[in-house]
Each structure stands twice: as C-alpha cells, then as structure tokens.
Symmetry: C2
C-alpha cells in the first residue's frame, strides 16, 4: 500500500518537506490531490464530521487508519520507516527538534509576505511586508542560518566529510528540509541569501550535496517537482529582498 500524501496540488508549500523524504527514500506514495478526483478526498478529511481525528490543515499523511497532520510529526513518523533518521531515541528527538526549528523558521518566512492577515492579498499589506522582511533579513535570517551552521560545525561526523549532515554521518530528513529551505530562500530572497550563505559555508555545502543526491536529482528534474511560484511559502517579491 503506497502512502497517501494530501496537500494543495499547485504549490510546494509545507507538503514539499514530506515529498522530499518520500522521494529521497524511493518510497511508494500517491500525491492524492494532484490525481483525478483527489481534491474531494482531501476535503473529506478536513471537513467531514465523520473523521474522528481531523487535521487542522494540510499536509497530512494517510496510511491505513492513520491520518497524521503537521509536517514535523509526519517526518518523525516516516523517518525510521524510510531510513531517514538515526535509530536511538536521542537521535530521533534531536532530529525532530531541528525539524521543529525549521518549521518555526518557515513560518517566519511566510509571514514576510503576509504579516497582517493570511486572508488578505499581499498587495493589501505590502508596506507592512516590507517592514517585516527588512527585520527578517537583518535579524531572523541571520540568526537561524547561524544556528544551522553551528549545528553542522558541531556535528563530529562532519570533520573531513565532503557532504555535511545535520545529524550523524548520513542523510536524514532534516538535511532534505534544510536543502528545501535554502532552495526556497534563493528563490524568494536571492540577494540576502547570497550574503548570508557566505557566512554559512556548511549550509551551502549541504544544499549543493543534497541537490546532487541521485534519486533527488531525478525528482527535482521531473514534473512531480512543482516550480516555486507566487502562491507558496517562498515568494519572489523583489521589494522584500535587499
């Protein structure tokens, strides 16, 4: 039985973090809402009173009776099943902690273009977005990237390694997620990201290395990879970069 991933069909968004894990592991899955008749299936889980444990929002994973939402929880669940996390409890929780920090960062990225209300257009909150994005570039982007860099520096298994990893000596789902974050930042904030990556060489090396992972390269070049666009988490508004 393939995993069912339910997510908005036209954006990478938070669903992409799950897609990357499934793709890197070569796991069988159906991207439900992108299939014929898939949107009603997704809506059922979100809106039907018959669903005992309803997701608050996509993405969510369905496997048999399990319906599991929240990106970081899905990855924690999939990690051991896909061979994308260390086996000890300490590694599992540390990896999850890094993922949750990525989730916090991604929420801040989102709010650079929607600081006032997700229910309103960007154009209606553009001035506020410019103020928030300026603070994001100056304070938050630098702080988060410095933390990712420190995590990579302090991982003893990265000494002498050509491809650094966030946890232990091999690929885990947080490496995929940090790859995605850097990819998105390069799309949304090309100038600020170029600047910040100069001070985070291990993050840059991780991004390059993960992007050349055999299965992932196949995925990134396929039509399954939705292009970045102006509806997703990462959006390119030149006035928010600098």
């Amino acid at each position: 039985m393939p995993y069912e991933l339910h997510y908005w069909p036209t954006i990478q968004g938070r669903g992409e973090f799950v897609r990357l894990a499934l793709e890197a592991a070569g796991a069988p899955y159906v991207d439900v809402a992108r299939e014929e008749g898939g949107m009603p299936a997704m809506t059922h889980y979100l809106a039907s009173p018959e669903v005992a444990r309803p997701p608050f929002a996509p993405p969510f994973l369905v496997e048999g009776k399990l319906v599991l939402a929240q990106t970081a929880a899905i990855l924690m669940y999939l990690g051991p099943r896909l061979g994308l996390v260390g086996r000890s409890e300490a590694d599992a929780f540390w990896t999850h902690q890094v993922q949750l920090t990525i989730a916090d960062f991604v929420a801040e990225v989102h709010d650079t273009h929607h600081p006032i209300a997700v229910s309103r257009y960007y154009e209606d909150q553009q001035a506020e977005a410019q103020a928030r994005a300026a603070d994001f570039r100056r304070n938050r982007l630098t702080k988060f990237m410095a933390w990712f860099e420190a995590v990579l520096e302090r991982n003893p298994r990265n000494a002498g390694a050509s491809l650094p990893h966030l946890v232990g000596g091999r690929l885990s789902y947080v490496d995929l997620s940090l790859f995605q974050v850097v990819d998105g930042l390069q799309y949304a904030f090309p100038k600020a990201t170029r600047r910040v990556l100069k001070k985070a060489p291990l993050v840059a090396a991780l991004h390059a290395g993960v992007g050349s992972h055999r299965r992932l390269r196949g995925y990134l070049g396929s039509e399954r990879r939705i292009a970045f666009n102006q509806q997703g988490l990462f959006r390119r508004y030149p006035e928010l970069d600098g």
Copy 2:
C-alpha cells in the same frame, strides 16, 4: 535526579506548557533560571560552542546528557514518562499533532502584538498590531477554537463525561496546554474570548475542569505560577481586543 527546565524566569511563555505537565504529574524538577545562579546555566546551553546539540531558544529540558528544546518535542518526550499520554503509537502521534497545532496557534497569538519585529517595541508596531489582532479575532481565533471543539466533540470517550479530554478518557498533556491557551486568551482578549467560548462549550468545560485538578490547583495558587504580564506570549492591550 529531578528534571531541569530552562526558561526565562519572569514570564509564563512557552515554558509554562512544560511546567504544567511537570506540576500536574507531581514530577520532581528544577526551574533552573529562577534559582540563584541559574541564568548563566541557561545561557551556557544557548551560547557555548561546547554544546554539541544546542537549543535554538528556551524552553529546553535537561536530563542527564539529553538537552531537548521545542515545547512540543519536550512534551512528547515527557508524556509517557509522566503518564500524560496514551500508550499506543497512534495516540502518541495524535496527541503530538494536537500539541503542534496549539504551538502554531500560540505563535499567531504572539504575533498579534509583534506583527513586524520581535526586536522592536509593541508601541512601534501598534497600528499593525491592531490590524493583525482584528484579523486574528475574526478569522484565526474562531477557526482554531472550532477545531479544538470539534476534536472534543468527536472523542467518543467524552460522551456523558463531566470533564472532556482531547484524547481518550483521561488527562493528557494537550489538555493542560489547551487549559493554558484558554487561560492566556482570557487574559489577553477577554471580550473576544468570552464570545468564542460561547460557541465552544466543551473547550470551556475542559478549561474549568483542568483548573480544578487537585495538583494543578495547588500549583496555580502557589508562587511558582508566574502571573500573566506584558512581557509574555499573552499580553493585555485593550486596543487589540474587541
């Protein structure tokens, strides 16, 4: 060995979700930064390059060699150890999923008073805060509370129960966290919360029931419970309520 909780000593903030779990279970713990000499201990974990797996931010839990940050991850770790979560994997992940949704909600509560920059004073972003808070009250508060109410309605173990629970038939850490959220909302948005709770009677019943839990009542009446104030997540600015 008592658990070590590291968190800012003068606010409830995110640390309070962990405190409530430790207190409700009667677990031995030290609230490190509130002890003599505790702030340098907390700072060590955040700032010293010797810490291999550094927290991005408080709260974090220290137990022997384990240093674990991210409120929801801490609660997932403590849940089985404190008897505050069901034993099956499905229950553990569902409970965690609810907690992560609470975390998302709490981040939105925070941003009502800091929509532009955490690094700047409320007074410097008050107009934007009023716009964000208006959207929060109208759209986000109602949406999240309707979801919590639906989760309580659909839990079959709540049929005929005087005290409803979010998961299964007994107290789990998410009940404590939802209690804290309602308590904070009543402080920060008394008018809007009164209105929304009328449509969420099970959430209101959970709040009342958890607040009368024997150990918790003792805690809430003690000096260990920091009062709500204008530095925490939940702040009372009358112009943001309505």
